[in-house]
Amino acid sequence: MRLIAEGLAAVRGERVVFQNINFDVASGQALVLHGPNGSGKTTLLRVIAGLLGMLAGRMRVIDKDGAVLTDEARDQSLHFVGHQDAIRPQLRVMETLQFHANLLGAPTKNVDAAIATWGLEPLAELSGGLLSAGQRRRVSLARLSLQRRPLWLLDEPLVALDTPTRARLNDICSKHLAQGGLIVAASHEPFLGDRRTMTLGYQE
């Protein structure tokens, strides 16, 4: 699978946040976006996910047979973990993950596996309102393990995570890449050894 962007530009409000963005990410590769606050990292991730329209340029996701995916097929082949964690105080962690499994079209049994993968067993019966920032982050990252999808879009995945969980995230992402996955992540800190980075800057 490949994700190819050519000449991407996007506006937020009246401001052009970035323009002429080009990249080509193939299976097994990760692209880490750096840049100051407001440089458009989140906007770029949302454009890739199809949640925001682009002003100019072209973005294609190509499957292993070389066919360009339709918007619907693209939606079904990506995970988007933004900095909003989609956790409600009224729902227990278990219920939240079951709901997300349903949205992702995953069987309910995957929930237990995701809970084990992310070490969430002690939190499963807690309601979302009682979670700390780092715990919320972990529950939201656990979506990645609910359903196998090749393209992972991660917005500041390291924020609020403790050292063991960072190591866990690193392992899970490395395994995903080894299995032929793609990752595009925005981060202020080095992520996945920064094997490949792109720095976005302010546009005048």
Binding site: R12, R46, A49, G50, L51, L52, G53, E72, D75, Q76, L78, F80, G82, Q84, D85, A86, I87, R88, Q90, L91, E95, Q98, F99, H100, N102, L103, L104, G105
Partner: protein, 221 residues
């Protein structure tokens, strides 16, 4: 279909547990009916004449209460992004939201109303008509409200805007709902008013999800 059911169930769970949810709508509805005799005086004739209108005004206001939590929190916490990425069309997302809102507001109110009817000296034959009119009409109120809530996701703290947007559109429900109950009290045939009420509800249930989905697509950024 499984996704649809999961979304309805999740929203019902949240509605039952949230402080501004189903319990508040039911309590608010009951309070208006309980307070009415204190304001209008104990005269059975006055209460009986005002009853149908009061019940329907209370229903309009009580269903309005939960609208702010139908889509606004989902837009704020990122759930809406995930719904957009899910294979469920936005029209069905909106329909699920309508169903969950109705089950935690209009439906409960419809079951509650017959128990409160004696407080306003409603005639016994009019009580089943009251329950029927609420059951038939309140789904339409949820549909209109959800469409307005979808428009409201682009406005921060859109609560007041929501009420101003929704209430005028709810007028037909008030008129036909109250007149069905009044007709039953006057020993007239309420069928015609109930048919108009059902028609209004059905139109709202068709147009509401389409309008809500269009509104959600419009404020994509």
């Amino acid at each position: 279909m499984k996704t649809f059911r999961a979304l309805v169930w999740r929203d019902i769970l949240i509605g039952m547990r949230a402080s501004g949810g189903a319990a508040l709508a039911a309590a608010f509805f009951a309070l208006i009916i309980v307070l009415a005799p204190l304001g209008l005086g104990p005269d059975a004739g006055t209460l009986r004449a005002a009853g149908p209108g009061l019940f329907w005004i209370a229903a309009l206001l009580a269903t309005l209460l939960g609208l702010e939590r139908v889509l606004q929190p989902d837009a704020e916490d990122g759930t809406l992004d995930l719904l957009r990425l899910s294979p469920l069309p936005l029209e069905l997302v909106a329909l699920a939201k309508i169903a969950a809102h109705w089950l935690t507001s209009g439906f409960i109110i419809s079951l509650l109303a017959p128990l409160l009817a004696p407080l306003l000296s409603l005639d016994t034959p009019a009580i089943p008509i009251l329950a029927a009119s609420l059951l038939l009409g309140t789904p339409g109120l949820s549909a209109i409200g959800t469409a307005a809530a979808a428009l409201g996701t682009s406005v921060q703290r859109g609560g007041m805007v929501l009420a101003i947007l929704v209430l005028p559109l709810n007028i037909p429900f008030l008129i036909f709902g109250a007149s069905a109950v009044s007709a039953a009290q006057a020993n007239e045939d309420p069928t015609q008013a109930l048919i108009f009420l059902t028609a209004a509800s059905l139109i709202a249930l068709v147009v509401g999800p389409i309008a809500a989905a269009a509104a959600l697509r419009l404020n994509e950024d």
